[in-house]
Symmetry: C2
Subunit: 255 residues, 2 copies
């Protein structure tokens, strides 16, 4: 099993993802928000790039929510912002969410262009769910850091390193993966890593330290969100299924 880490989404132009298990990670905050929304019962998340797109799609879909932010600030006409803690069951249960997220949407879209069949959505909040699934599949793996505007993000790289540690010692690592593991090992504490990143410091500066605390929580949810390709990317979640057949599967379990 080979593990590759794309330290920035710019590297997507240089890879062929056909046949690989592919994960996109954007810890601060797109994938943390997607995981939280789906864990709290949202029907699906549709990532789009601009607030205008989100509002246009919601026009034809009045039960849906248009969500997200620009530069960390709320968008007029939007139901919720970019902060995962806003996505409570009361607000999202059963609803479709059009979420504006430049970096996350772009990384997922480009992964499909490079041959990914589906894209798993990773965050510290569902770290074990993602890594257990990758180990179960046993295929070559590509972990893609969404970063920011085509550049590397420390927080995403540390997620990749934590994931690699859980895949065991027999995995064959590319240089990107070796770098991710080194980065992860240099932070004992996830929150410290997030606070060391440029985007983490920016979020603190505009008053979102509670989001850092939340996004740093490992394995708060046991959930595997999966993005499917299409004109619109649709992300739905399969709660991970119990391995013992005697246990009742959780609601929505697809296995």
């Amino acid at each position: 099993m080979k593990v590759d880490v794309l330290i920035s989404p710019s590297e997507l132009s240089s890879v062929d993802l056909r046949g690989m298990a592919v994960v996109v990670v954007d810890v601060l905050r797109a994938t943390s928000t997607i995981v939280t929304a789906l864990a709290n019962g949202a029907a699906e998340v549709v990532p789009v790039e601009t607030p205008e797109e989100a509002l246009r799609y919601r026009l034809g879909d009045p039960a849906a929510l248009a969500c997200g932010a620009r530069g960390g600030k709320p968008v007029e006409g939007f139901g919720l912002g970019n902060s995962p803690v806003e996505y409570t069951p009361e607000r999202v249960e059963g609803r479709r969410i059009y979420l504006t997220t430049t970096n996350g949407t772009e990384a997922i879209r480009k992964a499909f262009e490079r041959g990914a069949g589906e894209v798993l959505i990773g965050a510290f909040l569902n770290l074990s769910s993602v890594c257990d699934e990758l180990r179960r599949r046993g295929r070559d793996i590509a972990l893609i850091c969404a970063g920011k505007e085509g550049r590397a993000g420390l927080e995403d790289l540390v997620f990749c390193g934590r994931c690699i540690e859980r895949l065991g010692d027999e995995a064959e690592l590319t240089d990107g993966a070796v770098i991710a593991r080194i980065a992860s090992r240099s932070f004992a504490d996830v929150k410290e890593a997030l606070l060391s990143s440029q985007h983490g410091r920016y979020l603190v500066s505009i008053g979102f330290e509670r989001d850092i605390d939340f996004c740093a929580r490992e394995d708060l949810f046991d959930l595997l969100p999966t993005a499917e390709p299409g004109d619109l990317i649709r992300i739905t979640a399969s709660p991970r299924c119990p391995t013992a057949p005697s246990q009742a599967p959780p609601r929505g379990c697809r296995a």
Copy 2:
């Protein structure tokens, strides 16, 4: 002073290099070879992408050498390969060298497209020359890892981290620069870092361990090669000048 590290040349599409001091590094082996050739008296190095280009330019310039390799193997009709240890004074003194190097040439060319006025050439062989010059200039800095085929290379990242350590504590670091420093600190020994990289292991597998030993030597040369933009990129070296005015400047000193 802000220090940015582009972990792969793919990130060049996302940056504006105008006004910055820019370094391209391709430790294994393009920039190590360029530094060695110029230190041993080559008149200039002209990096080109393909062997055909190198041979075509040499046709109109019979005193020049067409050099480089493909996949680590020699090219028919070429004077020298990609191995820096081949570039002895006897072979290169006073000559122009057309050097084929895909990753290095591409990174330098793209740096000019993104606004770099000139590009410094960095390798462990001239680490202090480059870092002293960057500190002297006091401008914002972009260190660009040439890597391999648009992907990150561990060996180049460790160079960037070593360089950042020499710039002092007051530099403001991007996430890429923080990651480079973490990578550098995880290797006490440069050779160990090179042997941990994918390309380093590949070079050992095809019999070039002597190149790893050579490219890992820090500060073997006190030399600052600089690439100037143009239809052809020309790289010449200024031996670094003595700071005490009483000392005679070395041959070729431009200060």
